[in-house]
């Protein structure tokens, strides 16, 4: 096959067996790869009702047909499994170099089933594979593990692993690859930990064959040429200040989540903004494989209290650990980010959970004695200390390790958890970005911006601006963006580059730029309609999985704070998120019933059998 490798590696940890399987070309075409391939496999094999941390759960790590091909930002892979945080399906993706190396080692995807009796790691070396003992690595941080495994296998090997948080099944544990890149969300690292799989190590030298290398090269030349031309006159915000530069935008739109989402502006915002990060802590940029942007930040903190070195933070981390906790000490945020990376945890859920705990303390629903330390708004030291304790499930960290929903619920106030499907939101208050609320509520994995990110058109004007406060007519572009994201995630591309360079201004048209890359790479002769349908197929099959796992319309929800409490001040003052109105419209454009169930006709049209 071209583009795809045509091979899947199946790992049964219970039996300690690993074997190769063929990838059916029709499945590859219909589901693209990455996220799509993952959901296809899980829909076929995984019991939606299973306990996510039991051996019955299955974890898929899948690259896309464009991963490693040299297409710009074709660097990504998706991890799909049943989430211990939401209880539904999840898909968490990451870039770096690991996904490309996995593909070069000979496989499109790895499917992991069962549970090993003892800690193991999987070593894949140019088509050869074996499970190896990992007892000596148990308890080690992600950085220690990565260094040790490169020593044990190959200095050029790439590592995806869990840290102590994954071992201890922190419900939002991440899988870290290339040390500081994270498949961060929904507890994919906890699933890996529950299977006693410490790491996947890959080394590959096999070139990925393209169907039409000349056409591919020519298109690449055009796209990159245009990109570089534009970059000359328009400095790339992402390159200059990383995603953390977004603080300036969200603050001035009044949608920067602050004080556990009680406010949309933060007085100390300039102290945590991307500009400050660049000025004070940036060492150098870093980029995923084949990425012309390089939004990654290698940083270093000298302040002895929070000293450290590593990567990050991203905007989401800055909001979650900064404004959301009223912490204006950027060094502390960076440090807490390092700890999350080393222990292997999602920074969004971590920060949001601490913010929620701060409010619970503030309102007298948790006593500080129970925490064993003070926990007031803005407490930078508490942020760092509690992050560490969570990674090891030490003391009160054991409670934080369950995420904000379970924490708030245990205090009798689940409404104070800023979640959808029990997963914490990224940093855009939907009261001032209406479609964002719809995207959070309908994202299959719960609060997320990566499964469709209307902030692009509502706040950043990409691919074209839309009134952020209007809710009528938002269902269609949101649905379209979600479909685009499904294609992007499945193809192995990065949203940041793709929505700016490979999609049409009219979101209702499927991404023509991706189509060209896909056809040149795979030779599968996709029509625009087929590509569009593939995206919808992924979304609908994910939805089907959720329905079978017991989710209904009531789970497509936002906390009351978003829908009933008007924003108290700032540029979004007085607004609430009109979710219910948007939801009716959304189900309609999706051809789902008013309860949010895909109609049989829709499924039949997409060729999905239940």
């Amino acid at each position: 096959m071209f583009g795809w490798r045509g091979k899947i590696l199946r790992v049964n940890l219970t039996e300690g067996m690993v074997h190769e399987e063929e990838l059916d070309p029709q499945v590859a075409k219909d589901y693209i790869g990455g996220r799509g391939l993952g959901i296809w496999l899980l829909n076929k094999e995984l019991d939606p009702q299973c306990d996510p941390l039991s051996p019955a759960n299955i974890m898929v790590m899948a690259t896309g047909p464009l991963t490693g091909t040299g297409a710009p930002t074709g660097a990504r892979y998706s991890v799909m499994t049943k989430s211990p945080l939401s209880g539904g399906i999840t898909c968490s993706n990451s870039g770096g170099k690991f996904p490309t190396e996995l593909k070069r080692s000979g496989f499109d995807a790895i499917v992991v089933e069962g549970r090993s009796e003892k800690p193991v790691y999987l070593w894949v070396n140019d088509g050869e594979f074996e499970l190896r003992n990992a007892e000596h690595l148990w308890g080690k941080t992600t950085h220690e593990t990565t260094i040790q495994l490169m020593r044990e296998t190959d200095a050029k090997a790439k590592v995806a692993c869990i840290g102590p948080a994954g071992e201890k099944k922190v419900l939002f544990a991440a899988i870290m690859n290339d040390k500081d890149r994270a498949a961060g969300r929904s507890g994919v690292g906890a699933v890996m930990g529950s299977k006693n799989l410490k790491a996947v190590v890959v080394r590959g030298t096999q070139k990925i064959q393209l169907a039409d290398p000349d056409r591919f090269k020519e298109f690449n030349r055009q796209i990159l040429g245009r990109f570089n031309e534009e970059a000359k006159v328009t400095p790339i915000g992402l390159r200059i200040n990383g995603t953390a530069g977004v603080v300036t935008a969200t603050q001035n739109y009044g949608v920067l989540p602050t004080k556990n989402w009680q406010q949309g502006t933060f007085d100390g915002w300039e102290k945590i903004d991307g500009r400050e990060l660049t000025k004070t802590y940036l060492v150098t940029n870093s980029a995923c494989f084949s990425c012309p942007i390089g939004c990654g930040r290698k940083t270093k903190v000298d302040d002895p209290q929070f000293a450290g070195e590593g990567e990050g933070p991203e905007y989401e981390t800055v909001y979650a650990m900064g404004s959301n906790c009223m912490v204006d000490n950027l060094a502390a945020v960076v440090k807490a980010n390092y700890i999350c990376n080393e222990l292997g945890m999602d920074t969004i859920t971590m920060g949001a959970t601490i913010g929620c705990a701060m409010e619970l303390v503030d309102r007298g629903y948790i006593a500080e004695e129970e925490i064993g330390r003070s926990l007031q708004w803005g407490d930078a030291e508490a942020l760092v200390e509690l992050t560490r304790m969570t990674g090891y499930r030490e003391g009160f960290g054991d409670k934080l390790a369950e995420g904000s929903y379970r924490l708030a619920e245990s205090c009798g106030h689940p409404e104070l958890a800023m979640v959808s499907k029990k997963q914490e939101f990224p940093g855009y208050d939907p009261r001032g970005a209406q479609a964002m609320g719809l995207a959070y509520a309908t994202s299959p994995i719960g609060g997320s911006h990566m499964r469709g990110d209307p902030a692009y058109f509502e706040l950043f004007g990409i691919p074209k601006p839309m009134d952020r406060l209007a809710w009528k007519g938002k269902a269609k572009p949101t649905q379209a963006f979600q479909d685009h994201s499904a294609i992007i995630d499945s193809a192995g591309l990065c949203v940041f580059f793709t929505v700016r360079n490979l999609v049409e201004k009219d979101l209702e048209i499927a991404p023509t730029g991706i189509l060209e890359y896909m056809n040149a790479a795979t030779g599968a002769n996709y029509t625009l309609e087929e590509l569009c349908e593939a995206g919808q197929r992924v979304i609908n099959i994910e939805r089907l999985f959720l329905i079978k796992a017991g989710f209904t319309r009531k789970d497509d929800s936002l906390p009351k704070r978003m829908t009933e409490e008007p924003m108290p001040a700032g540029p979004s003052k007085g607004h609430v998120c009109h979710l219910d109105e948007m939801l009716d419209e959304y189900y309609e454009v999706r051809h789902w019933t008013p309860d949010g169930v895909p109609t049989p006709e829709k499924l039949a049209r997409l060729g999905i059998s239940e």
Partner: protein
């Protein structure tokens, strides 16, 4: 407070108070350097009918300089009218998440 002069508005200083619009301006990120004085947050006065374009001209922010323009928290452009008491925020475009 900074008051900028602009040739085409000769005589605007003689406008009575009721004919002047006060516009709050905030410059952030790479655009801070276009501040007329030390302060990157300042107020300007404009005759009615002025647009963001007039403001950009006054600050010497040329068309090639990438910017996001927010008027009272809403994404706007060069042609957007300025209104009495409005706040215009200018900063380098960002995206991501």
């Amino acid at each position: 407070m900074a008051f900028l002069r602009r040739r085409s508005w000769q005589g605007w200083e003689s406008l009575s108070d009721s004919q002047k619009m006060r516009v709050n301006v905030k410059l952030y990120s790479e655009l801070k350097r276009y501040a007329p004085g030390e302060d990157t947050v300042f107020m300007l006065e404009y005759p009615p009918g002025s647009t963001v374009g007039d403001l950009l001209d006054a600050l010497k922010i040329s068309a090639e300089v990438p910017r996001f323009i927010l008027i009272d928290g809403m994404l706007s452009d060069e042609n957007s009218p300025l209104t009495e008491g409005c706040t215009v925020v200018l900063f380098t475009p960002v995206c991501g998440g």
